[in-house]
């Protein structure tokens, strides 16, 4: 991939990923060394390691990349990113791939987009995270069976005063919601 330079070279998908990732232009310098996959705590469970993903991006395999499980297994530990000899912001590329996959409904075999949606909905509604609300809504809608196993742990947390039954709301919720609304408009316009 090193042969590419910035600008109008490389696959259409490569240019798209670069445009969606802060510092993404470093992707073209990937040496295919595999330090990323070797460092990744989830590497063994990924369909394609980050190294393979970069080769696929370069080969314009848009659908295969966006429906892969790779980015959903990324735990944002940033180990690959600090070890990359070419300073590619790998974790940030994973975030860009998550955003593209969510936007196009291409995420396969994962509840991660549902979790992200529930999380941001709660943030928008209250301004703060609300663990019980997040867990109950996410589990009820997506993983009702798994909720049973969570019961004893939830109870232990509750008896130790570690689980709130009601959400905390920020005072100036209108302000936060106005900021979010404007940011979304600006994002859609670009």
């Amino acid at each position: 991939m090193g042969a590419h330079s910035e600008g109008n070279h490389g696959s259409a998908f490569l240019r798209e990923v670069i445009a969606d990732t802060p510092g993404g232009e470093r992707i073209v310098h990937c040496l295919q060394c595999g330090s990323c996959g070797g460092s990744c705590p989830s590497g063994a469970d990924m369909q394609y390691t980050p190294r393979t993903i970069f080769a696929m991006i370069n080969a314009n395999q848009r659908d295969a990349v966006l429906s892969a499980n790779t980015m959903w297994y990324c735990v944002s530990c940033y180990l690959c990113m600090t070890r990359c000899p070419q300073n590619i912001p790998i974790t940030d590329v994973m975030y860009a791939l998550k955003r593209l996959a969510i936007a196009e409904g291409k995420a396969r075999g994962t509840d991660a987009p549902a979790l992200a949606k529930t999380f941001t909905d709660i943030l928008e509604k209250y301004g703060r995270s609300f663990e019980l609300g997040l867990a109950s809504r996410y589990y009820l809608l997506n993983r009702p069976m798994a909720m049973m196993k969570m019961g004893p742990m939830g109870l232990s947390m509750f008896t130790r005063g570690r689980m709130a039954l009601l959400p905390t709301k920020i005072k100036n919720l209108d302000q936060l919601q106005a900021i979010i609304k404007k940011a979304r408009e600006l994002g859609e316009a670009s």
Partner: protein, 295 residues
């Protein structure tokens, strides 16, 4: 010394022990934490997975709300710390995002000048701004005999390079040597706890948690010290589920570094939030520290 303080959502309830011990330790060491008025959630990793610009604006609202006379912001949670620090960097480096974030903030009557606030993690403040001499002279109850495993996790040590190593950090190790503890030098101290992976793939998350617990056991730690509510939750609250999943028998207490710092500074266990952890730290504390003090 005075800092703006961004507690983050976990500190309100789930990580109440971290909040209690942070406040106690701050008073004892003599620094003031001024809570950012009406702060909002940092969005964790979830918001950035959906919409980068909106996520940045949500984070930037907190930076904009830092009182004008303060220019350092302290976060005790790794994810909050990184989101705040990373957003500030992104705004500094990327003029387009900076302009759009400020346009969004303006819709709420706010603005933020990128780089105005220096975002720091609580450990960094305690380690750098107080240092060995001043902390040593405050120790009234040495942690001698107690084997602690400092656990750094990911997002404080990476990707933003501070003064500590991104692979083999040492600041918490050194802090606990000043307090007299035996610091366990184990290889996974900056490996990942899985973050929100428990909500996405339990087998994957449990394996990451198991590796950390097993390593601490192999190196004969009495307890693991955390500097992030998410890490503490995964290692502590999920420990019995991990045991059930792998047939293991871990009984590893997971406490916040501020709780043990508080013990060394002479505070009672209760005011430091001990007893909120699911795997009790009391047996280890009683066995190792009892001879010298009324723990």
């Amino acid at each position: 010394m005075k800092y703006a303080y961004y507690p983050g959502c976990s500190m309100e309830c789930n990580a109440a022990a971290y909040e209690m011990s942070t406040q106690v330790v701050a008073r004892a060491l003599g620094f003031k934490l001024v809570e950012v008025d009406d702060w909002n959630c940092c969005g964790a990793t979830e918001f950035f997975s959906q919409d980068e610009l909106t996520a940045s604006a949500v984070v930037a609202r907190n930076l904009a709300l830092v009182a004008p006379e303060l220019n350092q912001l302290v976060a005790p949670c790794a994810a909050c710390y990184l989101n705040l620090a990373k957003t500030d960097r992104l705004m500094q480096d990327n003029a387009t995002i900076n302009a759009k974030v400020n346009e969004a903030l303006a819709a709420g009557g706010l603005k933020y000048k990128a780089g105005r606030v220096r975002v720091r993690h609580l450990l960094d403040v305690i380690y750098q701004d107080f240092g060995e001499e001043r902390i040593r002279e405050k120790v009234v109850r040495s942690l001698e005999g107690l084997r602690v495993a400092p656990y750094y996790g990911c997002q404080v040590v990476r990707p933003i390079k501070g003064d500590d190593s991104t692979e083999y950090p040492l600041h918490m190790d050194e802090l606990f040597k000043w307090l007299g503890a035996e610091v366990v030098d184990y290889p996974v101290k900056a490996h990942c706890c899985g973050g929100h992976m428990t909500q996405i793939s339990e087998p994957q998350a449990f394996e990451l948690i198991r590796r950390l617990l097993q390593s601490a056991v192999d190196y004969e730690a009495d307890m693991i010290l955390c500097m992030c509510p998410m890490c503490q939750l995964n290692l502590d609250a999920y420990q019995s589920r991990v045991n059930g999943f792998f047939g293991t028998n871990f009984r590893m207490p997971i406490v916040y570094f501020t709780q043990m710092l508080g013990v060394a500074l002479g505070f009672e266990l209760k005011e430091l939030g001990f007893g909120k952890e699911l795997v009790s730290a009391e047996p280890a504390l009683r066995a190792k520290l009892a001879q010298r003090a009324s723990v």
